[in-house]
C-alpha cells in the first residue's frame, strides 16, 4: 500500500540521512520526498510517500520514533490529510500549439510563470493525481524538463 509519512525533525545536519536510511535500509522505495523548515526554524518537516508492506512499514515507523532528532511521526491514512504537490514544467509551445496549451492550463487553474517564443514554463498545484492528469495532457506537446515537489501533507 502507498503511505504518506510526515516526520517532524530537528533541523540538524544528518537528520535526513538517518530518516532516509531507515527506509532504504529496509528496502522501501521512496516515491517522493520533501524536506523544508517549518514556522519554527529549528524544526523541519519531511514528507515521504512510499510503497511497502504495511507490517514492515509499521516497524519502520516505530524505529523512526526512536531517532533522537525526530519529534513526531505521522502515517496518514488515505483521506486523513490535505495533500498538495507543486509542479514546474517547461513545455514546447509555438504560435500553433500555444492556444491549446493555455486552454488546458486554464482548466487546471495552472499558471504561466515564464514565456518565450518556443516554450512555456507552467506552474501547477493540486493533489498529485490532478498534477499527473495535467502532465498527461501536456506531454504530447513535448516536455523539455520538469520538477515536482513531491507530496506535501497536513492533518485535516
Amino acid at each position: 500500500m502507498r503511505h504518506t509519512i510526515s516526520v517532524l525533525v530537528e533541523n540538524k545536519f544528518g537528520v535526513l540521512a538517518r530518516v532516509a536510511g531507515m527506509f532504504s535500509g529496509r528496502g522501501f522505495n521512496i516515491d517522493s520526498l520533501n524536506v523544508a523548515p517549518t514556522h519554527d526554524a529549528t524544526l523541519s518537516r519531511i514528507t515521504a510517500v512510499l510503497k511497502g508492506d504495511d507490517h514492515a512499514l509499521d516497524l519502520c515507523i516505530k524505529q523512526l520514533r526512536k531517532l533522537i532528532n525526530v519529534v513526531e511521526v505521522i502515517d496518514f491514512a488515505e483521506g486523513a490529510a490535505v495533500t498538495r504537490e507543486l509542479l514546474l514544467v517547461k513545455v514546447k509551445a509555438d504560435s500553433h500549439t500555444r492556444p491549446e496549451i493555455l486552454q488546458i492550463k486554464d482548466i487546471f487553474r495552472a499558471k504561466i510563470v515564464h514565456l518565450s517564443h518556443d516554450y512555456l514554463v507552467i506552474e501547477c498545484t493540486g493533489e498529485d493525481d490532478k498534477v499527473s492528469a495535467f502532465l498527461g495532457l501536456i506531454e504530447p506537446f513535448g516536455i523539455i524538463e520538469l520538477s515536482r515537489s513531491g507530496r506535501l501533507a497536513l492533518k485535516r
Binding site: E10, G14, D58, K62, R65, K66, L67, I68, N69
Partner: protein
C-alpha cells in the same frame, strides 16, 4: 522534559574557566564518572591525549589495535553496567572501531566512542586520514555527533552519555575535528539533558491493568515458561525476576544475552535455549501454553522457524523498546515497559498470588532435564567441554568469563554455570570473532580482584592476540584458556553436517600436517612462544591428567596468562537446531 541519569556529584550547571576543547572533553568525562578510557592516539586525536595527560582522574589504556581497545571498552561496560569509553584518531583509527560499535548496537551495550577528525577546513577534501565516520556508522549507532562548534561540546557529551546508558542502552559516537579540540572557550557544563523527541525522555511503565492481565494469564496457564533476555541484565532486574519466578512458580529459560539473569542452579532454571541451548529449555518453550518474554527480542538463533516458534502459546512480550514488539514474532500481549518496573510492580500486585497447580509440567521438565542434560562423550584426549567444566570447578563458578565466537563460545555457556548476571560476556548478536581477550581485558580493569578468563578458540584468539602486549604493559591479569582444535570449529561443524565435510578454508595450520592431540608436532602456531614474546606466561596442555593442575597454575598466576589446551577437532556442539528449522528437528547427537 528534563532528566538526568548521571550521579549527582555536580549539582548545578557549572561555568568553567577558559580552556581548550580537548580539556573540556576531559572535564566532561570526569563529570560522567569515567575512570578508564581505551584510546589509541594519532594526529587527529593527539590534542585529546595531551589533555588526558594533564589529569590523573582517568586511566588511559593504550590498546595495540583500536578494535582491541573498543572491545575492551565493551567488556568493561558489560561487566559493570557503566558506559564504556574508547577513543581513536580519524580515518583508519575510526574505521577500526566499527566492529565494536556494531557489536554494541546489536547487544545493547552502553558505549561512547570518541573519534578525532581532521580540521573542519579539510572535511570533504579527501584529506590525509579523513573518513566520514559519522556517515559510515549511521546504521549502527543509537546516536552520533560531529561537533562543529566548541560551545556545543559540553552539551553533546552530556546528551551522549545519557543516550548511551538510558532506555535500551547502545553506542554513541562523537566525532571531534582537531580545530574544535584546539579552540579555546569558556565551557558551560549542563546538569540535565533535554530532548525534543518525546519518546527519549519518557519513562516507560506498564499499566496495572496490563500487569493484572499477565497475572491472570499465569493463573490460567498449565505450561507457562519465562523466556528472559539481556534486558533483565541491562535493567538490573535479576533480583525482581527471581522473586517473580519463585512467586509464580514459572520455569525460566534465558537467552545467551540473558545468561546469569536467573541463577542457573535454581530448580526453576532451564539454563538457556535456542540453536545450541538446552534441549529441555527448547522443548519447554515449544510446548508452552504461556510464554512470558521479558527483555528479549525473538532473535532467529532463539526462534528458528519463527512461524512455528511456541506455536501453541499465548505470548506476553515486555520490552522497553516498543519497536521490538511484533518485529520478529507477532504476539498477543505486547507491553512497553522498563522491565525492572514491570517486575517490581508484578511482585507487588501478585503479593497474594497463588500459583496454579502445574505439577505435571514441572514433572515433565524435570524428566527432560534428567534424560538430556548438556553432555559429551569422554575421550582419551581432553575434550573441550571437559576443559570448561574443569575451569568451572576450579573457579567455583565465581569467574567472569568472556569468549570469542564459535564452538568454544557455546561450550563456555553450556558447561560453565552462571549464578549471577554480567558473568558471561560474549559477542552474541554480531558474533564478532576476536572479542574474547580484549573484553576480558576490559572486565579485568573493572574488577582487578576477580578472576577474568577468556575462554577462546584458536581462530578467535588470533584475531586480537596483540592485546597480550597491553595486558603485560598495563599489568592487567586477564587470562585466556584456548580450546585449540586447529580449526574454525563452528564453520567446520556446519561443513560436517551440511556440506559433506568438505573443508572450505577452515583449517588454521598446515593442511598436510594438521596438528592434534595425536600429532603435537603439527600444532600451529605456538601460542606459548608467542605469549613469551609478549612477556606473558603461557603453557600448553596435551594430557588429560595435566589439565586441572595447569588450570590451577593459570588461576594462581598473578599476571596475564595463556593456557593453550589442545583438544580434538572432532567434537560438535550439541544440541543443535539447524538454522531456520524447528525444535522437532533438533539434533541431539
Amino acid at each position: 522534559m528534563k532528566k538526568t541519569t548521571s550521579p549527582a556529584a555536580f549539582p548545578k550547571a557549572d561555568i568553567g574557566h577558559e580552556m581548550k576543547g580537548a580539556d573540556a572533553v576531559v572535564q566532561c568525562l570526569i563529570r560522567e564518572n569515567v575512570d578508564v578510557i581505551f584510546a589509541y592516539p594519532g594526529g587527529a586525536s593527539q590534542e585529546l591525549h595531551q589533555a588526558l595527560a594533564r589529569t590523573d582522574k582517568i586511566r588511559v589504556i593504550l590498546p595495540r589495535h583500536e578494535q582491541g581497545g573498543s572491545f575492551a571498552a565493551e567488556g568493561y561496560a558489560r561487566a559493570t553496567g557503566r558506559v564504556g569509553v574508547c577513543m581513536a584518531t580519524s580515518g583508519p583509527g575510526a574505521t577500526n572501531l566499527v566492529s565494536a560499535i556494531a557489536d554494541a548496537y546489536m547487544d545493547s551495550t552502553p558505549l561512547v566512542a570518541i573519534t578525532g577528525q581532521v580540521y573542519q577546513q579539510y572535511i570533504g577534501k579527501t584529506a590525509f586520514q579523513e573518513t566520514d565516520i559519522y556517515g559510515i556508522t549511521l546504521p549502527i549507532v543509537k546516536h552520533s555527533y560531529l561537533i562543529t562548534n566548541v560551545h556545543d561540546l559540553p552539551r553533546i557529551f552530556k546528551d551522549a552519555f545519557h543516550i548511551a546508558r538510558s532506555g535500551r542502552p547502545g553506542p554513541v559516537i562523537i566525532d571531534i575535528p582537531k580545530d574544535v579540540q584546539q579552540a579555546k572557550f569558556q565551557p558551560v557544563f549542563p546538569l540535565t539533558v533535554e530532548f525534543r523527541n518525546p519518546y527519549i525522555g519518557q519513562e516507560h511503565h506498564a499499566t496495572d491493568a496490563q500487569l493484572q492481565e499477565v497475572l491472570g494469564l499465569i493463573a490460567a496457564a498449565q505450561k507457562p515458561v519465562l523466556y528472559v533476555g539481556g534486558g533483565i541484565i541491562s535493567a538490573e532486574a535479576h533480583k525482581e525476576l527471581k522473586a517473580f519466578a519463585e512467586k509464580t512458580n514459572v520455569p525460566v529459560a534465558t537467552t545467551l544475552m540473558g545468561v546469569g539473569a536467573f541463577p542457573e542452579m535454581h530448580t526453576l532454571s532451564m539454563q538457556w535455549f535456542g540453536m545450541h541451548g538446552s534441549a529441555y529449555g527448547n522443548w519447554a518453550v515449544d510446548q508452552s501454553d504461556l510464554l512470558l518474554c521479558f527483555g528479549a527480542r525473538f532473535d532467529d538463533r532463539i526462534t528458528g522457524d519463527v512461524s512455528k516458534f511456541a506455536a501453541h502459546a499465548k505470548i506476553v512480550h515486555i520490552d522497553i523498546d516498543t519497536s521490538e514488539h511484533n518485529k520478529n514474532k507477532r504476539v498477543q500481549y505486547p507491553i512497553c515497559s522498563d522491565i525492572k518496573y514491570a517486575l517490581t510492580r508484578l511482585n507487588e500486585l501478585g503479593a497474594r498470588f497463588t500459583p496454579p497447580d502445574t505439577t505435571p509440567w514441572h514433572t515433565q521438565i524435570a524428566q527432560w532435564k534428567r534424560a538430556h542434560p548438556f553432555s559429551y562423550e569422554p575421550s582419551k584426549h581432553i575434550q573441550p567441554q571437559e576443559a570448561v567444566a574443569a575451569l568451572y570447578e576450579l573457579t567455583k563458578g565465581d569467574a567472569i568469563i568472556t569468549t570469542g565466537v564459535g564452538q568454544h563460545q557455546m561450550w563456555a555457556a553450556q558447561f560453565y554455570r552462571f549464578q549471577e548476571p554480567r558473568r558471561y560476556i560474549s559477542s552474541l548478536g554480531l558474533g564478532a570473532m576476536g572479542y574474547g581477550y580484549p573484553a576480558a581485558m576490559g572486565a579485568k580493569v573493572a574488577f582487578p580482584d576477580k578472576q577474568v578468563i577468556d575462554i577462546d578458540g584458536d581462530g578467535s584468539f588470533m584475531m586480537n592476540i596483540q592485546e597480550l602486549a597491553t595486558c603485560h604493559i598495563e599489568k592487567i591479569a586477564a587470562k585466556a584458556m584456548i580450546l585449540n582444535n586447529q580449526h574454525l570449529g563452528m564453520v567446520m561443524q556446519w561443513e560436517d553436517r551440511f556440506y559433506g565435510s568438505v573443508r572450505g578454508n577452515t583449517i588454521l595450520g598446515d593442511q598436510s600436517n594438521v596438528g592434534s592431540p595425536d600429532n603435537p608436532a603439527g600444532l600451529y602456531p605456538d601460542f606459548v612462544k608467542i605469549a613469551e614474546g609478549f612477556g606473558v606466561k603461557g603453557r600448553r596442555v596435551l594430557k588429560k591428567r595435566e589439565l586441572k593442575e595447569a588450570i590451577q597454575e593459570m588461576l594462581d598466576h598473578d599476571g596475564p596468562y595463556v593456557l593453550d589446551v589442545i583438544v580434538p577437532y572432532t567434537e560438535h556442539v550439541i544440541p543443535m537446531i539447524p538454522a531456520g528449522k524447528t525444535v522437532k528437528e533438533m539434533l541431539l547427537k
